[in-house]
Point group: C2
Chain length 244, copies 2
């Protein structure tokens, strides 16, 4: 990092961003694993040949991106897809009562197939490429909350068919099994009518208004990894969004 040359005119990139990229690369390549304690600021600064302040700025932006977790007095850890963190960051349906309950999941179907045009577009794969589809029902407390279909490119999840069980927290599965870190997701929400199948699985009337969430989740390199379409009952829960 000493010898990084700052071009004069059009491609200036601050040192702390170069540091950040080099640290993110360690996560991508797997030399830094989720949950792991990373070296202290002072060690990183020495290793990279920059000041502690510059390392700090890189670590701070990574913390803001939820890639790291810093604990005063203990050190800096690579963020891990733990239940509580995932629940808070990526699962925005909450009971109207307010308390945050962990949802349970029940797999309805698991099948291999060929990507539809819409799926191929969302996942940036060829139309007709092999994909896995998982359909499951999630419940909050006793009553069914939503039914969702998760679509994964078969090429990214080798040996998927050998899994005997699919856990509730699939992002942790992606991480543990294939080293895939979900770093961000884009959700598009619409209101739709419950189909006969929705009604059956969710125990509501056919035609009941449901909240449909179409999520495309991406890894550290911004590549789409998962497409998920969830259809949610909203009679006792809602989607929460904080704006500022």
């Amino acid at each position: 990092m000493n010898d990084a040359i700052q071009a004069k005119a059009f491609d200036f990139k601050p040192l702390y961003l170069q540091v950040k990229e080099s640290l993110v690369r360690r996560m991508i390549e797997g030399s830094w694993l989720p949950g792991q304690l990373i070296p202290s600021e002072i060690d990183l600064a020495r290793e990279l040949g920059v000041s502690q302040g510059t390392v700090r700025k890189a670590l701070d932006t990574m913390t803001a991106d939820n890639l790291l977790i810093r604990k005063q007095g203990r050190g800096t850890y690579v963020a891990a897809p733990e239940e509580s963190r995932m629940l808070f960051n990526f699962f925005r349906m909450v009971p109207d009562s307010g308390e945050r309950v962990f949802p349970a999941s029940h797999i309805v179907r698991r099948a291999r197939g060929k990507a539809t045009p819409a799926e191929a577009d969302a996942l940036a794969v060829e139309e007709g490429a092999e994909v896995w589809r998982i359909e499951r029902v999630r419940t909050l407390g006793d009553s069914p909350l939503l039914v969702e279909t998760i679509v994964l490119p078969a090429g990214r999840v080798a040996g998927f068919d050998r899994l005997t069980e699919i856990p509730n927290n699939v992002y942790r599965l992606y991480s543990d099994r294939w080293g895939i870190t979900i770093a961000s997701a884009l959700e598009r929400l619409k209101a739709v009518s419950a189909s006969a199948r929705d009604a059956e699985l969710l125990g509501c009337g056919e035609g009941t208004p449901l909240l449909e969430i179409t999520r495309v989740a991406s890894d550290l390199e911004q590549n789409a990894v998962e497409l998920r379409i969830s259809r949610c009952r909203t009679d006792a829960a809602h989607y929460r969004s904080h704006l500022k």
Copy 2:
């Protein structure tokens, strides 16, 4: 700020947060108005008796909160409720096609009344307190997108009845007319069925699934200022949410 005394044990507050609070107070009290150029870092540092780095950290967190806009080479400005910024931060419905279009608005009704229990709870006023209600239809391009009811505590908007016209961007109205800055909002989304009135105003069938957004917007002091319930058609548009 020189003489701020740091208590030893339980109520430590970093200097840059004290600086931040003192600067936010200037906005609340109206000595710093939206759109205004504020003094340079170095001037603020001298005035407050702290280092430039501490002022910078305060300004950076305020920028992250969308309270300030910093422009290299020009200076730092108090964020203003301009169309484009509001559209980006607070209006999350976008056409499925993707381009961001400015919605138009048409007022349907404006009336004074007494707060229902639900309204009183959301706005933190007494049940039965005087409120203004505005109902309007918003269109995106040619077709109606949503119908919404805006509820305002009458006490916060003196002279509301003397307004001859209500602009599309009401947050700018709150700012210009009553010095109220909307700093954050909490939205709760559900799927509902179009009522006969919804259907009439939106030109859709009764019972069509609509996306219902219940928003409580708050000012710089975290006091609820506006309750807004929007019911949106989602046949050609969706609510966008970015998670990370």
